[in-house]
């Protein structure tokens, strides 16, 4: 029964999306704008079928209806409720349902938010683009990746449940939905950018419409990436949080171009400049989310996190091609209308610093993309096998990261148009002093090496500069000094500084040792003692868990464990972490047959890891604050309004 309802919903959603796209394109190209009403109806139906499909699948998982293909893949009577819900996105087909649900949610939000402008061609085209993307995902779910396929229960069928790694930490319930809210959220600005290109209404209108949507998507993407890193650290047991794995890189790419866009968009709003560039950034952010999905789901690039190989890699590559060349074609077509009404007067100005920001983030995105796909290029070129991992990305990210921190210090205090040397000197002095203090503190606590120490210094510099702005804003406007895009942005900056400093310390001063211990033995690593007190185990129908009691410094006892998941026959190590303000002690053991046997204990000591998570939360909080309307500010300059009006009137709508 669930198969029938689910498939019916998918078919309705697919037809609705296709009819909406066709009807909308017809109405808009022939200027029969009253026909857009049906398109809106279809959009509502498409959003609703997404909800129906997810509810049906959750229900089928809840009652363990093993005649549904996807339930047979990931369902099990032994899975606890939370992980049974999370099973919806634990495998390829189900994750598409979540994608559709989120996309439908954004479509519905657009319909509500722009209810007064339903006959506007710009909104109409944006809706058509949203429905076009929906059509693609519905086609996948109705066709090659149908989770609802009715199947027979094979003789001797044993339910396996979700991947063990996706059922032993509560973060599994939050990281994927958050990441998808970010990924999918960038469809909205993309839809409006495309609509602006199609209608030729290339003024600042579309930007202002989607500004907040972009910030929301960006906040979720930031949160999703950091939760992913946190989950990886707490669950995977390899001693780190970021490995420059292709799937991780895939989530970082749209974040980088999104960051670049959030900054350069201010130049356009303010000065009417960089129009082509901003359109290109919005489009490439969306294209990179599609590319990332392709990398995750096609299996072309080996990755620890990749979904099991599906037949749909080619589909995502096709979508990537269509959106990429579509955007490029549109930009090339409208290129002559995108001329900039103004220029940058001085390299010492806010707008110039945003350009420098874009250069750095663009370069970083290029490095990440190149490093991720280069092994494929090399294999095609001369068949050579090549692995590109952390050392490459680290050595590339180091100079770019230092420059970014420097820019983060200088840019927020720069005025628009032109700054004088005196202004710079006065505003930057105390932040610079804070930077020097940070370097002294780092040296006192044993930090060595020019790059990390310089990073601490620049972190202090950037943090000081952001703090200065927050202090000035709150002094001037009270609590409102925390709200609004500019002020929220400064909170994000402080968060970024904490993350950056944490990343540098945790990487540069990492200590990683493996020791063999028998019960009663003590090992010393980096001044900490680790005593193996013994061990114990427990089991239930789902898993057998064996842990070791490790006493750290003669005080608290930590229990790194290994868990054998019966249904999958997989042993998963579960690390135990003693977090701290100055350093984390990360413990993980290899598998033993019986509690109390000799273990090999791996100890990873990383300084300042908690700073990363704190900074991440601050970044998320900052984006939330940035969504709320801040102080009323001057609009764009008259000249850009004029030019956009001219452009809009010059083109037959």
């Amino acid at each position: 029964m669930y198969s029938v309802i689910g498939l019916a919903a998918a078919v309705v959603g697919l037809s609705g999306s296709v009819l909406g796209v066709l009807g909308g394109a017809y109405a808009l190209t022939t200027s029969r704008l009253h026909l857009l009403r049906t398109v809106r109806t279809w959009a509502w139906i498409v959003s609703a079928t997404g909800v129906v499909m997810c509810v049906v699948m959750l229900r089928a998982l809840a009652v363990r209806d093993f005649t549904v293909d996807y339930v047979q893949q990931v369902g099990s009577p032994n899975t606890p409720t939370l992980y049974n819900i999370a099973a919806l996105w634990s495998s390829l087909e189900g994750s598409l349902l979540l994608w559709i649900l989120v996309l439908g949610g954004f479509t519905a939000a657009m319909l509500v938010k722009f209810r007064d402008r339903h006959d506007d061609a710009l909104f109409g085209w944006a809706l058509v683009v949203m429905l076009g993307v929906s059509a693609f995902f519905y086609a996948l779910v109705a066709g090659p990746a149908n989770p609802f396929t009715a199947v027979d229960i094979p003789v001797g069928f044993e339910p396996r449940g979700p991947n063990p790694l996706l059922q032993n930490h509560v973060l599994v319930a939050f990281h994927p939905p958050m990441l998808y809210l970010g990924y999918v959220g960038f469809t909205v600005p993309f839809a409006f950018a495309t609509a602006a290109l199609i209608t030729g209404r290339l003024g600042e209108g579309w930007l202002i419409e989607t500004r907040r949507w972009t910030v929301v998507a960006y906040g979720f993407l930031t949160g999703g990436i950091l939760l992913g890193a946190w989950w990886s650290y707490e669950v995977l047991g390899w001693g780190g949080y970021w490995a420059w794995d292709p799937v991780e890189n895939a989530s970082l790419l749209p974040w980088l171009t999104g960051t670049a866009y959030l900054h350069s968009v201010m130049v356009q709003e303010r000065r009417g400049m960089l129009r082509v560039w901003n359109l290109a950034l919005v489009c490439s952010t969306f294209c990179l989310t599609v590319l990332g999905t392709f990398i995750t789901r096609s299996g072309v690039i080996d990755s620890v996190h990749a979904f099991s190989d599906g037949p749909i890699g080619a589909w995502f590559l096709g979508l990537f091609g269509v959106v990429t060349f579509g955007s490029i074609g549109l930009i090339a077509w409208r290129g002559d209308q995108l001329r900039s009404p103004g220029s940058i007067d001085s390299p010492l100005s806010r707008e110039a610093s945003f350009l420098a920001n874009n250069l750095l983030f663009g370069a970083m995105a290029f490095v990440v993309l190149l490093g991720t796909v280069f092994p494929l290029l090399a294999e095609l070129w001369d068949g050579s096998r090549l692995t590109i991992g952390s050392p490459y990305f680290d050595s590339m990210a180091k100079p770019l990261g230092l420059l970014m921190l420097f820019l983060m210090a200088a840019a927020p205090i720069l005025p628009w148009r032109k700054a004088s040397g005196e202004v710079l000197s006065d505003r930057l002095f105390w932040p610079a002093v804070l930077g020097v203090v940070a370097m002294v503190v780092a040296l006192v606590y044993g930090g060595r090496g020019w790059a990390p120490v310089l990073a601490f210094g620049l972190g202090g510099f950037a943090g000081g500069s952001a703090l200065r702005q927050v202090v000035l804003a709150t002094r001037r406007h009270g609590w409102r000094g925390f709200v609004g895009r500019t002020n929220g942005g400064m909170i994000v900056h402080i968060g970024v500084v904490l993350v950056a400093v944490g990343l540098v310390a945790a990487d540069a001063y990492k200590v990683d040792r493996t020791v063999s211990l028998e019960v009663g033995e003590t090992a010393t690593v980096n001044g900490h003692t680790f005593t193996y007190l013994g061990g114990d185990g427990d089991q239930n129908s789902r898993r057998i868990r064996i842990w070791a009691d490790i006493q750290i410094d003669g005080e608290d006892v930590y229990q790194p464990a290994t868990t054998l998941y019966r249904e999958q026959g997989v042993v998963v190590p579960t690390p135990s972490v003693r977090p701290g303000f100055s350093e984390d002690l990360f413990l993980v053991t290899d598998a033993v047959q019986e509690p109390g046997q000799p273990v090999r204990l791996r100890v990873v000591i990383r300084p300042m890891v908690t700073w990363i998570w704190t900074g991440g939360m601050l970044m998320f909080a900052g984006t939330v604050l940035a969504v709320f309307p801040g102080r009323r500010r001057r609009g764009t300059e008259p000249v850009s309004v004029v030019s956009s009006e001219l452009a809009e009137q010059a083109t037959p709508a």
Partner: protein, 149 residues
């Protein structure tokens, strides 16, 4: 002005001095640090790009042990690299700087330089921006005619 100059000279001297301390006082790499660095620089051959240090596959452990033994026996980084690459071509996480793979190092630099020149061009264009070419006037004129129609 002079007080500004003094202040910033102070900041500059402090930064350079502190950086000098951080480099000079660094000391030489210990054997443990060297082993850790080598563990971090090879990919485990059977685990999708995870490093030898991070993987718990048996081959990763074998390579870890091999590196430890060789380091203690006094082998150079190059010898260790040659031995591992002979068995596992392509397992170096840092791509080599020669042949086709050198592109992965060169291209980002090229892109960054081209981008920087582009940004410098955009920023430095301010003088020209005030002079409007005849083609621009035609465009504006065309736009105006469109408005009037």
């Amino acid at each position: 002005m002079t007080s500004r100059l003094v202040r910033w000279t102070g900041v500059f001297v402090a930064v350079v001095g502190l950086l000098a301390v951080s480099v000079v006082d660094r000391g030489v790499e210990t054997e443990d640090q060297r082993i850790q660095r080598l563990h971090d620089s090879y990919a485990c051959p059977v685990c999708d790009g995870q490093s030898v240090a991070d993987s718990n596959a048996s081959v990763a452990e074998a390579i870890r042990t091999f590196i430890e033994v060789e380091v203690v026996a006094g082998a150079s980084d190059d010898q260790i690299r040659d031995d591992i690459l002979a068995a596992w071509p392509g397992s170096l996480l840092n791509p080599p700087g020669e042949g086709f793979a050198a592109l992965v190092w060169v291209l980002p630099v090229v892109v960054a330089v081209v981008g920087a020149v582009g940004v410098a061009f955009v920023v430095g264009r301010r003088v020209e921006a005030t002079t409007v070419s005849s083609a621009d006037r035609d465009l504006v004129e065309a736009a105006r005619r469109g408005t009037e129609r």
